[in-house]
């Protein structure tokens, strides 16, 4: 049974330290709800685990089944069983979705799949996530609605069958029917393949459908508390203020720099003048 172990992880983005010593473990066969206020490091954690070069790891270790993840390049992390469902999946014009999926499946298989096998696998997966098969003749995520992009992420998870899947706000932008479809896929993957899940969401609705086995709350770039499903239920009702009272943690507010470009200001002129739009 594969286990992802994160020890004292510190991560910087553009010189700013976001994660300040995360310790966390998740195994296959676990569903962990990951909660926390906006800007406190949840997505940063996922990107750092997956190896996004924008996220600089300054201290700490990550192991997958005893192997040092930080020594692996991004494709190796994927092939070893890590999977990230992106919050905002990239739209890549011109890259045919079917070509991309076939290449991804081949990278994860010992033997290259035949065209017939590929279309059979894809047909089955599209039925599970209820996306029209024809969509895969289009460019990757290009022109997909928000819901279609999220379901496409889930479809990729089904095709690549990871050991540990990280789902970053997979429920945002989904209507009620789509949330049910996505949660059914997660539950099926969990029951049949015993995939371990780390799931970020701000809403209890998804958690009620997939029933996490644990809850972990990240505040100020650290794990503030861990426990059972009662934690996400309490956060849904009361927010995060009780963490301050019970754990003595002062919750840092996300700082939003004032945008210099406002109504009446020419954005192009500002850009030329300052070299930035912010």
């Amino acid at each position: 049974m594969k286990k992802l172990v994160i020890k004292d992880l510190h991560v910087e983005v553009e010189g700013q330290e976001i994660l300040k010593g995360i310790n966390l473990e998740v195994s296959e066969g676990e569903k962990v709800a990951l909660l926390g206020p906006n800007g406190h490091g949840k997505s940063t954690l996922f990107n750092a685990i997956m190896g996004n070069p924008r996220y600089k790891i300054t201290k700490g270790e990550i192991f997958l089944d005893g192997e040092n993840v930080l020594e692996m390049d991004v494709p190796t992390r994927s092939k070893k069983g890590l999977f990230l469902c992106f919050q905002n999946p990239s739209e890549i014009p011109g890259v045919n979705s079917a070509d991309f999926l076939k290449a991804a499946i081949n990278e994860h298989s010992e033997k290259r799949v035949s065209l017939y096998q590929f279309y059979k696998i894809l047909d089955q997966a599209t039925k599970e996530v209820k996306i029209p098969f024809e969509m895969f003749n289009r460019s990757l995520n290009d022109g997909f609605s928000g819901g279609e992009k999220k379901r496409n992420e889930i479809l990729q998870m089904l095709l690549l069958n990871p050991s540990i899947a990280m789902l970053d706000e997979i429920d945002s932008g989904l209507d009620v029917d789509a949330i049910n479809i996505v949660s059914d896929c997660i539950n099926k993957q969990f029951e049949e393949k015993h995939t371990g899940f780390l799931i970020i969401s701000h809403y209890a609705r998804l958690f009620e459908l997939i029933k996490p086995t644990r809850s972990v709350v990240i505040v100020n770039g650290k794990v503030a508390c861990e426990g059972g499903p009662e934690i996400y239920k309490r956060i849904d009702k009361e927010g995060y203020e009780w963490i301050k009272d019970e754990y003595g943690i002062n919750i840092e507010k996300e700082e939003q720099p004032m945008n210099k470009v406002s109504i009446g200001v020419c954005a192009t002129k500002e850009y030329v003048k300052n070299g930035t739009s912010k």
């Binding site: 991004v74 494709p75 011109g94 991804a104």
Partner: protein, 264 residues
């Protein structure tokens, strides 16, 4: 079928169909008259160094012209004149190993005429690829679309000027330009000027231009699914250079795939 006045190289086409014209037979200079109410698909071959072409599209006709630009240096000068309810589409698949210059001027002369110009250009070595594409919307209810994709490798240079001029009284017209260039190497360069000149109200126009190296977010997305860096780059570049193949017939489609896959 077609009637050819060989002295003036005026080619009149009066019947629907697909036609292949070998420009060596016309000394690289020809005027195509597409007569009323017909639909034609033209493939032009046999370009020499300098080619000059003119197209007059009559009322209610549809004309599609495809250029597969290969081998030695080429300069193509082209003019189009569009009449009522006519459509004129141009597709340039430029895999020429040397410099290419395409100068095109399309006049939308009558109501409900519309044109689409789409090019893909692969520049290598010290190639200069120069695209000067202009549209004149002389009257209202006319539409022009210009879409171009370039990939510059080595020390090559891609230069694109698009000018859409919506003239006075050309109300309800639409003009769109979209240009994207990918710089593959440190010394590769590209300049694009998608210009809109608008002299009347009540029109729709847009222009967009993106020049840069490979998008790191796109690369990371593909790598995160297990693709190697080489495969990820290859898929993205194919995305620039291959879609145009769908407008070509099987033989040329295969040539385009071979040109692109041979390089990446």
């Amino acid at each position: 079928m077609e009637q050819v006045n060989s002295l003036e190289n005026i080619i009149s086409i009066n019947k629907d169909g697909k036609y292949v014209f070998d420009l060596t037979k016309y000394n690289q200079s020809a005027t195509f008259e597409v007569l009323k109410n017909i639909k034609v698909d033209l493939l032009l071959i046999g370009f020499n160094k300098n080619t000059s072409l003119s197209f007059n599209i009559s009322d209610n006709s549809f004309c599609q012209v495809k250029f597969l630009i290969e081998n030695e240096e080429k300069t193509i000068n082209l003019q189009g004149n569009l009449n009522e309810n006519s459509t004129f589409n141009l597709y340039f698949a430029d895999y020429c190993k040397e410099n290419t210059t395409v100068k095109s001027n399309i006049n939308l002369l009558k109501n409900n005429s519309n044109t689409n110009v789409y090019f893909t250009s692969l520049a290598k070595g010290t190639n200069l690829k120069n695209y000067d594409i202009s549209f004149n919307h002389e009257v209202g209810y006319t539409t022009s679309n210009f879409e171009g994709y370039g990939v510059a490798m080595d020390d090559s240079f891609i230069k694109i000027n698009g000018v859409s001029h919506i003239k006075e009284n050309a109300i309800k017209s639409e003009a769109h330009q979209k240009v994207k260039c990918l710089l593959f190497d440190e010394k590769s360069r590209a300049i694009a000027n998608p210009i809109l000149k608008i002299d009347c109200d009540d029109i729709i126009a847009s222009h967009a231009c993106a020049i840069g190296s490979l998008n790191n977010d796109h690369i990371f997305y593909l790598l995160s699914r297990g693709l190697s860096l080489e495969e990820a780059r290859r898929l993205i570049i194919m995305g620039y250079l291959l879609p145009i193949k769908d407008y070509f017939d099987e033989e040329d489609k295969n040539k385009i795939v071979n040109y692109v896959e041979g390089d990446f």
